[in-house]
């Protein structure tokens, strides 16, 4: 029995099947969470390294960082994934090794979304007001200390909404890793389909990803509230816990993207839209 009617008719037995298959589903969930977390970690490192390298005073560093970012943004995530999974093992010595599927997934996700995030980092650092840099020299802080104590804390608060959106993009993109034989959540839920039918299995899969996405939203909202509080631009987390459950792009002042579109400096820096996708 399939279709929308079957979905409701067989809901009870199907839920029992889910319970029966729970060990496999949990395995898949762990793989997805691991790929998503490690991918995001790699992406964050790449974002900061290549975001800051793009505003280096050395031309060579800037050019190399720019090429890296444009390369990984411009070639699709699926191509990168297939390249690591299929091409890399076929290259002559000293390459020609088969990476573990999880590593392939993490590398592709981290490199691709890291390149997008590098643009967010660059844009946010660029939108920290000039007066702050003047304040750094007025207080005779060293440039490095000024970067880490003055500029980055402010840029961090600016970049969190976009990074949050990118992290959700990364989670959604991670569902493609089952094509390179990584047994993630999507793969395990697909195994359900033979017995529960299409509607149940895929509704279950979408809901599971939706819940994980919300975990990301809540975590990132928390970080954003804290970051704003740390630079004196908002209440403490304990006073604004409701802010944790704010859907992305639905802030009272008209949505994050609205703020970004209005903020011309952010548009110029390429952070317009949800995390400056393209």
């Amino acid at each position: 029995m399939d279709g929308v009617i079957g979905f409701f008719q067989d809901l009870g037995p199907n839920l029992e099947l889910v319970a029966e298959r729970m060990p496999q589903i949990v395995d898949g969930l762990l793989v997805t969470m691991l790929a998503m977390a490690l991918g995001a970690l790699l992406a964050l490192v790449i974002a900061f390294v290549f975001g800051i390298a793009q505003i280096s005073k050395f031309v060579v560093v800037r050019v190399v960082a720019r090429i890296f970012v444009e390369f990984f943004r411009g070639t699709s995530i699926v191509v990168q994934l297939f390249w690591l999974a299929f091409v890399l093992p076929q290259l002559p010595y000293p390459f020609g090794f088969q990476l573990d599927p999880l590593l392939v997934g993490v590398l592709a996700l981290g490199l691709n979304y890291g390149a997008y995030a590098a643009e967010v980092v660059r844009g946010s650092i660029g939108s920290v007001p000039k007066g702050q840099y003047e304040a750094i020299s007025a207080l005779s802080l060293s440039p490095t200390r000024g970067m880490f104590r003055v500029v980055i804390p402010q840029a961090w608060a600016l970049m969190l909404p976009s990074l949050s959106n990118l992290w959700i993009q990364l989670l959604k993109g991670s569902a493609i890793v089952s094509t390179v034989l990584l047994y993630d959540l999507f793969f395990q839920v697909e195994q359900l389909r033979d017995r529960t039918g299409t509607w149940f299995a895929y509704t279950f899969a979408l809901l599971a990803y939706y819940l994980i996405a919300w975990l990301i939203v809540i975590l990132m909202n928390g970080l954003e509230i804290r970051a704003k509080h740390n630079i004196g631009r908002g209440p403490a987390l304990s006073q604004s816990w409701r802010g944790l459950f704010q859907a992305p792009g639905s802030t009272p002042e008209g949505g994050r993207s609205a703020r970004v579109v209005r903020d011309k400096s952010a548009v110029k820096a390429g952070t317009a839209g949800e995390g400056g996708l393209a």
């Binding site: 279709g3 943004r73 070639t75």
Partner: protein
């Protein structure tokens, strides 16, 4: 023809190119049609969310958010399995799913654009007692769209680079063709590398154009 055991075989690459270009046509078609769907439906969604009563708005908003926050890959496979008894063309299913997925992004962009139209414009429309439809068509939408053009362009490029997600429903777009070609010949290097380069060659100049547009509008 058996490819040589080297880094790169030009003859083999030349054989792969026509196969890739066949797929590229589908990639382009999907991008253009998907963008059109998202452009039109995105505006409709943004206007519904702005005007509909709360009882419709709440579930509708949730649905839009749900589509936006769940993987395109799963939506593609789901729609394909659920609709294939009724729809002949897998490509059309793929294009609609892609278009609807990006509708949810475009709707946010339009909403931001509509929000950024100054309040005085609405008041002026009321003062001139313009009918509601005319206020939207002649006052709000033209200004809203101008503010959102760069973001819309960015999403079109992003959609272009996400068409390879179609591999999960076996639509013969460029990356799927590269994969099949590589699999048939037990050699992936040339086909997949070229597919990546073609993406880069097509998307980078377009994103430069959009950046220029942004500067002009800013």
């Amino acid at each position: 023809m058996t490819p040589s055991n080297s880094w790169w075989d030009w003859g083999y690459a030349a054989e792969a190119l026509p196969v890739l270009f066949d797929g590229f046509k589908i990639t382009l078609l999907a991008t253009v049609l998907g963008t059109l769907i998202a452009l039109v439906l995105g505006l409709v969604v943004a206007m519904v969310r702005r005007t509909a009563p709360a009882i419709i708005n709440a579930p509708f908003t949730w649905l839009v958010e749900f589509i936006r926050m769940t993987p395109l890959v799963i939506q593609l496979v789901f729609a394909n399995l659920a609709l294939s008894p009724f729809v002949d063309s897998t490509l059309m299913i793929g294009i609609w799913v892609l278009g609807i997925h990006y509708t949810t992004y475009m709707a946010e962009v339009y909403r931001a654009g509509i929000d950024s139209v100054p309040k005085g414009q609405w008041e002026a429309a009321t003062a001139l007692s313009l009918p509601r439809v005319r206020t939207w068509r002649a006052v709000v939408v033209p200004q809203a769209i101008r503010n959102t053009l760069p973001a819309l362009g960015n999403y079109a490029i992003s959609m272009f680079k996400e068409t390879p997600f179609f591999v999960v429903i076996y639509i013969p777009e460029m990356v799927r063709n590269a994969q099949t070609f590589g699999g048939d010949n037990f050699r992936y290097t040339e086909a997949i590398t070229l597919a990546g380069l073609i993406f880069l060659l097509a998307s980078y100049p377009t994103s430069l154009l959009i950046r220029r547009l942004e500067k002009k509008l800013a």
